[in-house]
Symmetry: C2
Subunit: 201 residues, 2 copies
C-alpha cells in the first residue's frame, strides 16, 4: 500500500499551508518568499513544487481557507437571527471583527491578483456567493417585495459598501478611526441603511 506516501504528502501540504498562513499574517502577501515558507515548514525549497503547483497555488489555497473561516465566523451571527435589521448589523460587525483579527490574511484575499487571462477559479466564486447569501437572508425579511435576483444584487452591494468602510479604515488610507470608534461608525452606518431600506420606494 502507498498510504504512508500519501500521508506524508498530506502532512507536508499542511505544514506548508500553516507556514504560509503564519507568514502572510505576520508580514503580508507582498513580503512572502518561497524560501521562508519552506524553511518554516521544515522542508527544502524544491519540495514546495512537489506539494503545490507553484507559490501562487499555495497562496490561493490559503486564501480559500481564510474565506471559509470568514464565512464560518460570520455565519454564526445569522443562525441566531431575530430581527432582520439587527442581524444585518451583526453581520457587518462580525465582518469587521474578522477583518481586524485576521488583518493580513483578510487583506490577502483581495490583494491577490490572478495573472492576466487567468480568471478566479469557479470554487472561489462559489465561496464568495455563499458569503453574499448570508446577507440575502435578513435582507429578504426586511424587503419581502424583492425577488431573488434583486436580493442577490442588493446583498452584493451591501457587502461591498461595508467592505469599503472596513477596508479603507483598517488600511489607514485616510486618517483611520481609532478602534471602538470604527465599530460604532459601522453600526450607525448599517442603522441608516436599514432605516432607508424600510422606506420602500
Amino acid at each position: 500500500m502507498s498510504a504512508k506516501r500519501a500521508e506524508r504528502r498530506e502532512d507536508l501540504r499542511e505544514r506548508l499551508l500553516a507556514a504560509t498562513t503564519a507568514r502572510i499574517q505576520a508580514g503580508g502577501l507582498k513580503g512572502l518568499r518561497a524560501r521562508d515558507v519552506t524553511a518554516d515548514a521544515g522542508c527544502a525549497l524544491g519540495a514546495l513544487y512537489n506539494a503545490f503547483a507553484d507559490l501562487d497555488d499555495l497562496i490561493i489555497q490559503v486564501n480559500s481557507a481564510t474565506l471559509k473561516r470568514l464565512e464560518a465566523s460570520v455565519a454564526q451571527v445569522v443562525a441566531k437571527g431575530t430581527d432582520a435589521g439587527d442581524t444585518l448589523k451583526a453581520l457587518a460587525l462580525g465582518y469587521l471583527s474578522f477583518a481586524r483579527n485576521n488583518y493580513a490574511l483578510w487583506r490577502a484575499i483581495f490583494e491577490h491578483r490572478f495573472a492576466d487571462n487567468v480568471n478566479a477559479p469557479q470554487w472561489q466564486l462559489a465561496e464568495h456567493e455563499a458569503l453574499i447569501d448570508l446577507i440575502a437572508v435578513p435582507l429578504a425579511k426586511l424587503r419581502p417585495d424583492m425577488n431573488e435576483q434583486q436580493l442577490r444584487i442588493r446583498s452584493r452591494t451591501l457587502f461591498a459598501a461595508v467592505h469599503g468602510i472596513v477596508a479603507i479604515s483598517l488600511e489607514g488610507r485616510f486618517v483611520g478611526l481609532p478602534g471602538p470608534e470604527l465599530e460604532a461608525e459601522v453600526g450607525r452606518f448599517v442603522d441608516v441603511l436599514v432605516a432607508g431600506l424600510k422606506q420602500r420606494p
Copy 2:
C-alpha cells in the same frame, strides 16, 4: 541666465509624467517599467533620476495629478447643488463615472503602497480631505443636527461605502454588474442611504 536649463528640465518632467500616466492607464501599475517610461518620454533611462528621485516618486506625482483631476471632475457636481439628496447621488455617480473612464489610473491611487515606515505624505492626506469635504456639504444640509466632527467622519464613511461598491464591481471580483446596471445600483444605494439619513434617530 539659467532659464533654458530650468525650462528643459520642466519639459522633461512633463514628458515623463505624461508617459507614466499613459503607461499606467494602458497597463496598470504592476506592469510599469522605468525603461518603458523613459523610452516613451524620449530620454535615456538614467535621465529619470535627474528629474525625479526614483520611479516611486514619479508614480506618486501621477497619483497626485489623478486625485486632483478626480476632485475637479466631481466638484462640478456640487456647484450646481440643489437638493442635498440629489447632490449626494450625483457625487456618487460622478465618482463611478471617473473611476470607469480612468480605471487603471484611479486604481493606481489605491493600489500604490508606501514602503514600510514611510507614511503617505501630508499633501496627499490634504487632497483626500478635499474630496471628503465635497460630501460634507450636502450631508450638512441633510443633517443640520450634526457637528463638524460628525460630518467629517460620516462623509468619510459614505465615501468609503460608495468606493467599495465601485471598486469591487469594476475590479470584477464578484460577478460584476454590466455597465448601466452598476449606475442604477449605485443610484438606488444612495437613495436608500438618503432615506435612512432623513430618519434622524
